[in-house]
Symmetry: D2
Subunit: 264 residues, 4 copies
């Protein structure tokens, strides 16, 4: 199979500079990521030629190295959004921040200070359907490749998620599956854990159950109040979301059922 | 209060060499650990004098620096037991291993190679009551200060646990509360987590719910089978149990409700 | 001694809410940090009363809980400065950013976007004496409590440092003492290490030799180029500087010779 | 190239089950590790056939999945040796412990308790040449694939090392290149670092300068004496050596100049 692919790439004057593969035995699927150098005239033609050579149920994606377009959804917490906007400002994000949308207006001045469009889409006095319809309308104006939930505190419906399958990233402020659901630091405090963490994952229709991209924990101790856990957790959340975005935006993450394959 | 305590200690010719205190606001309790140098004639008298000076609901423990006696309960896995027996052999455990008890006979030769008594207390063809009665009888022969569950794979009844309150330590092979219950590495594999871990905790009547002493995680990735997680997890389990034992045996751990206060 | 202090504090209607102490045996010095609640009329009077009660060579500092004033020195790298300015904007820094000074003009727009004064003090075509004189003049306009070297790439003279003793914090992009000096990631790449890190320390007259406040490492592997180490290192640098600043600004860090005592 | 290799393997009825490759650009070398299933009649013939197909300066190693034979050199510290012997006893080491050699007799009873040959080769009253000649003679009796320096406290000469090129593993008790040389924990204590660590590396003729296989650090603080660092460091040393051995014994580590490529 590798030989077949290599031949097609060579015909397009592309040189393989890195290759990673993985056999997911439980899922009975083979995954390969091939990084090439060269000038590609026609993505779609290459994709078709590869599909023609490969077995029937193969999926082929051809990703030229152009920055993804992202829409960032936030609520009131600033730290993940801040990290994204600063990286974007200095061109180290590997993505273009198309817009920031929030169900509160608090982050407007901050976002606009970075010359990024900010939209306040309130959830109050609206049904979830109406709220999500308003969100989807805004999003459609920007055609994002990915939606980043940067501490967005509203639960999205399966219908909403189905509009952006495998394209919504969330940062959850616990080391899932511990403390899924609301107020994880409060739960962590009540349970008396000695480490707290964060999890970046793709969003699927089941809350906090999507494929995990990356996770990290840090130590806490008995002197940590829930508030100090929140404070310490901010750093982990930023790091974990930052790492997950970088992996996804560089096309290093594949999804296999409810798991990710991450070619680091 | 500190001044009151200091006066009593001074009367016993004891010098305070380290002091730690903590106010558990949620539990409305004050905790203090005082380390002294000097020669103490009578532990119980000191305790009574301190109690006489302190408010009515105070608990005072006087721990001379002598090694704790422990009984180790295991099943078939060797790594935590091995770590304990090797440390014990070289006198770095801060405890005296009184005996090893297992519901299987597999670890007999290994244990006896370290000149430690090994008792096989089978659980087969017995009710839990009968099994636990046999365990308790063996344990009572050794009067252990602590019981260490070093990968002991039987669930103990509340009645059993009540016989050794706050004196049974367990190592659970996940970062609790994630993956409580059986086969945590299998659960971790199924969920596709990116880190695995271990938790040392005191055993209470609710399974995997007792006060956590210490926890640690390590990174895994998509190439880890459940079996490789088990292998990688062994190292973490050993480290976590080792650290927890050291803290407990040196009287650095206090229990406040369902949490621990660890004066490291 | 504790009793003496407690009496003085009580006379000022101050309640001790937390106390930490440490005996540095090598330096033969005793350190204590006492946190009080209450309203303090006169800091200096309290300090004098405490000094009057305590042995002759005691140092007493009374720090009311007001934010420190800081001046941030940077060169061209944005990530540490960005983290500081974002935290400052959202009032979670525990400090007031009085100004940003750089030997390049690159970070002006970014800094001014946060409504903070930015001063370009070039080092080119100047002797070090002239450069540092210009820096000191700017700094004196702002009377900072602390100077934060947020990836400031000029070496400061002992004379400069002596003007702000124990008040200059630096982030060094390696786990000191490994890779002191220039281009640590390049050195790390050449040596083939499997972890990289960052160190926050006070600046003394010996380069990269001052008291260490906090350090952190992350894993790397053979696929990391020096450039990717730089990228991964940014996250660690931000975290480490952030943590060090928080500790220092909350008066949790004491200096004992060339070491720090950190009451976390 | 991959296609060429695949063809040769297929002719031997071997199926590729995993493949990893890496281009070391600085060294201008390509590395590949191919894991196959199947029954191999003749290792050397396969090697020759592969060499015949590949460019002139290629190195090919064919490693059937049989345990390596190792000789363990220790001095007086027990913890790394203990970890090795326990794993060996329970058949989870991926290696056969051929013998244990020490320049002291302290570890004899412990080693012999595991039914492993123990040899005391004293260094006292001997020149280094004589000492090393005695060591080499003992080693040659056992033909080890690898020599594991499990806290062996004598410096080996370049001549000695040249006898086992790329086949001597050492655990150094610091995060190299920090604290190379003698008494690293003492050095760490004096410097006031906030983390300590350990490094597993191949031994080359320059002390503590060989290719690093893996490293790990843990946090310490101002309360750690040098002795407590030693104690805490033991856990890290065991973990790091254990991980390095596992990687090496499973043929996952390649050496490129002074670096390792680790296909985890």
């Amino acid at each position: 199979m590798v030989a077949l692919i290599a031949r097609v790439l060579a015909a397009h004057q592309l040189n393989i500079i890195a290759m990673r593969e993985f056999v997911d035995e439980a899922a009975a699927r083979f995954f390969a990521r091939i990084e090439c150098s060269g000038v590609l005239a026609d993505d779609e033609q290459l994709r078709q030629e590869l599909l023609a050579q490969l077995p029937g149920d193969t999926t082929v994606t051809v990703n030229p190295p152009q920055p993804k377009r992202i829409a960032v959804l936030a609520t009131r917490e600033y730290h993940c959004l801040g990290d994204i906007l600063v990286s974007h400002f200095f061109r180290t994000l590997d993505a273009e921040v198309a817009c920031v949308i929030s169900n509160h207006d608090d982050l407007r001045a901050f976002t606009e200070g970075f010359s990024r469009p900010f939209h306040h889409v309130p959830h109050e006095d609206r049904s979830r359907e109406q709220f999500e319809a308003a969100l989807l309308e805004k999003l459609s104006d920007y055609s994002p490749d990915y939606i980043i939930l940067a501490k967005f505190m509203r639960i999205l419906s399966p219908e909403f998620i189905a509009r952006y399958p495998q394209r919504i990233l969330n940062i959850h402020h616990s080391f899932l599956p511990a403390f899924a659901g609301a107020r994880p630091y409060r739960q962590a405090f009540e349970r008396g854990v000695k480490l707290i963490g964060a999890t970046a994952h793709f969003v699927t229709h089941e809350l906090d159950e999507g494929p995990i991209i990356t996770q990290q924990t840090i130590a806490v101790n008995h002197t940590f109040t829930a508030a100090r856990m929140v404070e310490a957790g901010r750093e982990v959340e930023k790091n974990v979301l930052n790492k997950a975005m970088r992996l996804v935006f560089r096309d290093q993450v594949f999804i296999s059922g409810n798991k990710t394959i991450v070619f680091e």
